[in-house]
Structures are given as C-alpha cells and as structure tokens.
Assembly symmetry: C2
Homo-oligomer: 171 residues x 2
DNA sequence: ATTATTATTGAGATTCAATAGCAATAATAA
DNA sequence: TTATTATTGCTATTGAATCTCAATAATAAT
C-alpha cells in the first residue's frame, strides 16, 4: 500500500475528507525521502507551482503523524523537523554537536530493548527514538573532545568581531 | 563535586562571571530533581521571592547545558523542557501519546548499543537519548481518540497548578 | 444530477516561546 | 579604589505555530 492509500484509509476511518491539497503534500513529502521542515516543504511545493498555504501544511502534518506516515525529529535549530517513516526502514540518528551533522543508522538491538522495557512497564510502544549525541568522526579527530568549548568561544567571539567590523564599515 | 562547584569550574574555564542569579537558578533546578520548563522555573523562583528575569533564565540555560548540568528533553507541548542530569542517574523516557504522561526508566542495554554503534561509525558519543512512544498502561486500556487532547491538557496543566498550590501552602 | 451539510482551505491576525537591544548594575582585574 | 566589561532586567522584536473566518469544495442525502 502506498502512502496515499494508507492516508485514505486513515481519512475514511476518521470521517475526514480526501482533498487534493493533502494528497499533494503527501506526494511531495514522499518524493523527498529525507527530513524536512515546514518552510522547506512550502518552498518545494511553490517551486512546483503547487500553491498550498502554510496553514494547510501545519494542519495536515498532525494527520500525517497520526496516520503513521511521518514522525517528528528533534534537531537543534529551534523549530520542528519531520521525516517520512511509512515504507522507510526505521533508523536512528547520530548527531554531531560540533558541526550539526546527522548520520542515520539502523539497529535491531534498540527494537529488542523497546520490547523488553514495554513488557516491564505494561507500556504499549508504537515507536521508539534512539539518538546518539557527540562528535562525528571528522570533528572528533580535528578538534579533540576537549577543545570544543574553546572553539565554541572562539567562534562566538569571532561573530562579535565580525559584527563590529561590519558596523564600522558603514559610512 | 556539587552542581554549583561544577558550574563554577566551567565559568572560570570560560572566563565568565560568577553571579548570584546563576547560582540561584542552579539551586532551584537541583532542588526540583525533575524535568521543568522555563515558565515553571520562573514561577518556582518567584514563589520563593527570587526575582530573576526570564531573560536571565533563557541566557543561563545554554550555559547549564554546556557545563553538563542539564539537558534538553523533547516533549510535545510546543516548547522545550529540561532536566538535571549532573549527579542524576541517566534515564530514558516512556511517553504516552494519549495522556502525555512521562515514565522514566533506566536501562543498561541502551548504553551498550551506544558503545557498539559509536565504534561502528567512528562516532564519539557523549550522550544518548532513548525514548519509547506509545500508550501507558491506563490509556492502552481505555483508548479514546476524543479524550486525547483533553487528557493531555489536564496532565500538562496539573503541574503548573501544583506549583501554585505549593506556594499558597506556605505561611 | 441537484441540493444540503459541513469539513477544509487560504489569508491574515494572533499567540507565545525565545531572542535581541539597551541602559543600569555589579563582578573581576588592575 | 578605580576601570573594565560581563551580566542583569526591562522592553521590543522575531518567528514558528495556531486561530479566525469567509469562501470553497467534498461528501451525503434527495
């Protein structure tokens, strides 16, 4: 069953309506095959002359989550991201705190942990999220774990300097 | 080493300044022993006649994260939450999508997965986040879609009410 | 097919967590 | 004690996400 039909089933079960907007959104998301945010999605649709309002995107996303087509992913830039999960192999994320890079990995052990813990707590788990936070190979090698804070400080001070330079340039 | 001193070491290393506001914030957070959001923290401080501006809370939190005292936790009510981690046993979360309830659990297997995956990808993991999403024992039984938002709202608002109650109890 | 009902859309207004700017204050170093 | 400047609190601002509401269009009923 493709995402559209999966969604139609959900729509019918909930007594909601099938609309071209919703299906266009699903088509676009499942042509991305990667994580996205609302702005990105909106832009991609616009570039294809599909004029769907952001309000509709925001209203559709919860339905896509409820129907199991996508899920939220938490990055660290202050707003939500999403990724298609239906028809995609479940994966987890490695997130580099230095460069922000996201590496995906699959792991079966996490699934077993899910089952064991669920049983232990009488919890019916429908999903899990497993994420490793740290340093990607490049950043771990280049910086060393200890240098991070120093680099961070240098970076932030550089920013201030840049801001000053820019300011002083003005006539 | 207690959280305050851990923070003082960080402050010194970064060339920042020790202030009573920052230390009051740390004291409050580590007296909670549980997750919190900025509003809650602000209210609790106010109830104790500690008048610290929200701006300072927002400015201090990144320092607490950087120094390893707290971490972000992602719930689903549209804004960030945090929890103390320094001196606390690492734990993971079960999150009920019906009532919003959070159950904590500890698990060593997750740590082993972290080690194995890190080695595999050449990633230097400093932390992991493992979360199970589904239905808590109560909700798994009654399972009503209509009740979802109502229950969720009740749970998340209960906390704020508790904070107020606590204040009113004081003589 | 036609009509009635009402969910959905789009545009703009609104909310609110989070950030930024600025003058006053206070922590550190000299 | 004085000088330097990070920090604070207040206010204004940003921007993601939500809400309002009239217009539209999807479904059910006739």
């Amino acid at each position: 069953m493709d995402p559209i039909n999966k969604f139609r089933a959900y729509i019918k079960a909930q007594g909601l309506r099938k609309t071209p907007e919703r299906e266009t959104i699903i088509e676009e998301i499942f042509s991305i095959h990667d994580h996205f945010d609302v702005d990105e999605l909106f832009l991609r649709l616009r570039n294809k002359k599909k004029r769907i309002s952001k309000a509709s995107l925001y209203r559709t996303i919860p339905l896509l989550i409820e129907s199991g087509l996508i899920r939220e992913v938490y990055f660290e830039d202050g707003h939500l991201h999403y990724e298609p999960i239906y028809g995609h192999k479940h994966h987890c994320h490695l997130r580099c705190t230095t460069c922000g890079k996201i590496i995906e990995f699959t792991d079966d052990a996490a699934l077993k942990v899910q089952e064991r813990i669920s049983k232990k707590y009488g919890f019916v788990a429908t999903a899990h999220r497993f994420e490793l936070i740290g340093y990607c190979p490049k950043c771990a090698q280049r910086d060393g774990v200890q240098k991070k804070q120093q680099l961070y400080k240098e970076n932030t001070e550089k920013k201030k300097q840049d801001a000053n330079d820019e300011h002083e340039k003005r006539p």
